[in-house]
């Protein structure tokens, strides 16, 4: 089920913006080493710092440009609040990154568009609550959004154990991917130039990857990411089915896109059931709630 319809134009915007945004993470692999372009190399990170927030805003605006149903909006706000509120709890009790846990499950239930929005709103709300607004925020938002989007794109047919297994696997992968991308973003800023762990402009991609891997190992973020991946997967295995059921129940109760119909007053109310079917089919097209 998809709470938020992603129109073809939106999909194209999403793809283009994601492609451009990916470059803002991976630029250290591609910056040229030619001396004549050193000026460009120096300005690239700053340009990207300015560009990414705009790209994130563009995609969010595009996703909601068709108008978003109040039920989906309230669900989005409340789930983002759950993410923001459970975050300290998760860190306190078990070192669980609850954000991914709920993001993956909600993306799965409510569809890719909703998942994308939830990723961004969750991290944005969390940042506002903890006064953590800064240039890193759009990057975190985008990564989380990709995770939510991906969860919504998993094969729809799966149910039961297979679904839990796939979601747990995806959750673990997503946790690694998030860690890797954020490391990649942080890498040039944290070590600076001139160390053996710094990126080398113009060097082959593999060499830079090697250095990134070393940086990750040295800053022990790899261990952190592993812990996060394991707890996310375990949480999805243990609590996933119950949370999925709760989310699906909420979706059912909210009656997203339930047919809305009007009919003339029936003179014989006892025969309503037959009338409903007929009128429902006829009226749904005319008066459907957006």
């Amino acid at each position: 089920m998809s709470v938020l319809r992603v129109a073809p134009r939106t999909a194209v915007v999403l793809t283009l913006a994601s492609a451009a945004a990916l470059a803002t993470f991976t630029w250290p692999f591609f910056v040229p080493a030619h001396p004549e372009s050193t000026a460009r190399t120096a300005e690239a990170p700053l340009v990207f710092l300015v560009m990414l927030p705009v790209l994130v805003a563009l995609t969010l605006a595009e996703l909601t440009s068709g108008g978003i149903d109040s039920k989906a909006l309230a669900m989005l706000g409340v789930l983002a609040a759950v993410n923001a509120a459970l975050r300290p709890l998760g860190a306190g009790t078990a070192g669980i990154e609850t954000v991914f846990f709920l993001l993956v499950l909600a993306g799965r239930v409510f569809g890719p568009g909703f998942g994308f929005l939830l990723g961004s709103t969750s991290l944005f709300a969390s940042a506002l609550l903890t006064a953590g607004v800064g240039p890193w925020l759009p990057f975190q938002m985008l990564c989380a959004s990709w995770i939510g989007l991906g969860a919504g794109l998993l094969p729809a047919r799966l149910r039961g154990r297979a679904e839990t297994a796939v979601l747990a696997g995806y959750g673990a992968l997503a946790a690694y991917g998030y860690g890797l991308l954020m490391n990649l973003w942080f890498w040039p800023f944290s070590v600076g130039a001139d160390t053996q762990l710094s990126y080398v402009a113009g060097a082959p991609v593999l060499e830079n990857l090697h250095r990134l891997a070393l940086f990750t190992a040295v800053t022990s973020t790899f261990g952190w990411d592993t812990g996060r991946a394991i707890t996310t997967a375990v949480a999805i295995v243990l609590a996933g089915p119950a949370v999925l059921a709760a989310l699906r129940r909420a979706a059912r109760r909210a009656a997203f896109g339930a047919p809305v119909a009007f009919a003339a007053a029936s003179d014989r109310p006892t025969e309503l059931t037959a009338g409903v079917r007929r009128d429902g089919a006829a009226g749904a097209g005319a008066h459907r709630v957006q």
Binding site: R9, L16, A19, A20, A23, W27, F30, V31, R40, V47, M51, V54, A57, L58, A61, T64, S65, G67, D69, S70, K71, L73, A74, L76, G77, V78, A80, A81, A85, L86, G90, T93, T98, L117, S120, T121, S122, L128, A131, G132, V133, P135, S190, V191, G192, D194, T195, Q196, L197, R211, A235, L238, A239, A242, V243, A246, L247, R249, R253, A254
Partner: protein, 399 residues
């Protein structure tokens, strides 16, 4: 936090000024522009003297002009983060630096790593230049971070949300909802956690997550439905009709702009690409896409209650930030050597009058910005006012 000094000063100002300087919350955008200006200034120098002064300026303005809201306490966290960054840079240079530099302080035993680690060698000689370079670099990044921390502490994030453009209105509303629901959920997490003991459950970890998260989640989801009904009943989602032609134009602008952004990014990273494909293309693409987005946002019909306006004080504060950045850049063109003091040969960092002027301008909002709003006396959140007789409201009940 009230500011006795400034309120007293305000009394001596001419009458038409005094209205500006009444205690009030400044437009959050003004604080962000000021802070970004400071951060830009910091990014244009590695000279520790102006950097330290900029940190001091940020701290001064925060202390004098922050309110009593929870986010106002964030500044300290950013200062510690800055210290960590400087320390990290220096430690990285010591461990992985490779020991360039003439003035070797100490020779640590070298530890060559195996082949798979790209032949990296740990420790080795530690040179002053190396440490100093790390320190300068780290201090620059830390200063930028602390400037952002100042913006986080000074600007009211909720008012910032009110200023989002129409196209982002839905997302902005979702975040507003999240911000108001999150504290309630924290309370319900505590409540459910306490209630779990009543059923004999003391489990921790992932198992506890289920027992706590599910009642909280179910509560929250039920609440979202009530909220949606309330929003619908109160007029959420009233939009103006958009002509098909305009929709095509906005869509074309956004799509075309994004293609431009992609091309520009490619041009920026590929040195073989012609120059115009780089930054100019990227900026043009961004501008087109943003224009499209803003045009699309015009279909959202709503007004804003007590919007933050750009009054002279706002312009002044933002201007101070911009001026500080501009003056530092100017200093850079005049005296690049002094803004980027070389580590070899070792030289003492120096200040120039331009740098001092930039720092002075950056500090001006500590006095020029209106003081934060006066704290109202809040009654403690004890539930109801004590009413001794529960049944007196209906007059007929008095017998």
């Amino acid at each position: 936090m009230t500011d006795a000094g400034t309120t007293a000063d305000a009394g001596r100002r001419p009458a038409r000024w005094s209205a500006w300087w009444l205690p009030r919350g400044l437009h959050p955008g003004a604080w962000w522009l000021w802070a970004l200006g400071l951060a830009t200034a910091a990014s244009h120098t590695t000279n520790p003297l102006p950097l330290a002064l900029l940190v001091a300026v940020a701290a001064l303005v925060v202390v004098r002009r922050r309110g009593d809201a929870p986010w106002a306490l964030a500044f300290r966290m950013y200062v510690w983060l800055g210290v960590v960054i400087v320390a990290m840079r220096v430690v990285f240079r010591i461990v992985f630096g490779g020991g360039q530099g003439e003035h070797v302080l100490v020779r640590l035993p070298e530890i060559p790593l195996p082949e798979w680690a790209a032949g990296i060698r740990l420790f080795g000689p530690v040179a002053v230049e190396q440490i100093l370079g790390g320190f300068y670099d780290g201090l620059r990044l830390a200063t930028m971070l602390i400037c952002l921390g100042a913006a986080n502490a000074l600007a009211n994030p909720k008012r910032l949300l009110k200023a989002v453009p129409g196209a982002l209105y839905a997302v902005g509303t979702a975040v507003v909802v999240a911000l108001s629901v999150a504290p309630q959920l924290v309370e319900s997490v505590l409540r459910v956690r306490r209630a779990r003991r009543l059923r004999g459950a003391t489990g921790r970890g992932v198992r506890a997550l289920r027992g706590i998260a599910l009642p909280v989640l179910a509560d929250a989801l039920d609440r979202s439905l009530a909220l949606a009904a309330a929003m619908d009943s109160r007029g959420y989602g009233r939009t103006g009709a958009v002509p098909a032609g305009q929709r095509t134009i906005t869509g074309g602008l956004v799509l075309g702009g994004l293609v431009g952004v992609c091309a520009g990014t490619y041009g920026l990273l590929d040195s073989a690409a012609p120059g115009y494909l780089g930054l100019p293309m990227l900026l043009a693409g961004l501008a087109a896409a943003v224009t499209g987005m803003l045009l699309a946002g015009r279909r959202v019909r709503r007004s804003r209650y007590r919007p933050d306006r750009w009054l002279p004080a706002e312009l002044l504060v933002a201007g101070c930030g911009v001026a500080a950045a501009a003056l530092t850049m100017l200093a850079g063109t005049v005296d690049p050597q002094l803004l980027y003091p070389p580590v070899s040969p070792l030289t003492w960092p120096q200040l120039t009058p331009l740098m001092l002027l930039a720092v002075g301008v950056a500090a001006a909002p500590a006095w020029l910005a209106p003081p934060p709003p006066v704290v109202r006396v809040h009654r403690p959140p004890v539930a109801d006012p004590p009413v001794p007789v529960p049944t007196t409201t209906s007059p007929g009940d008095r017998s």
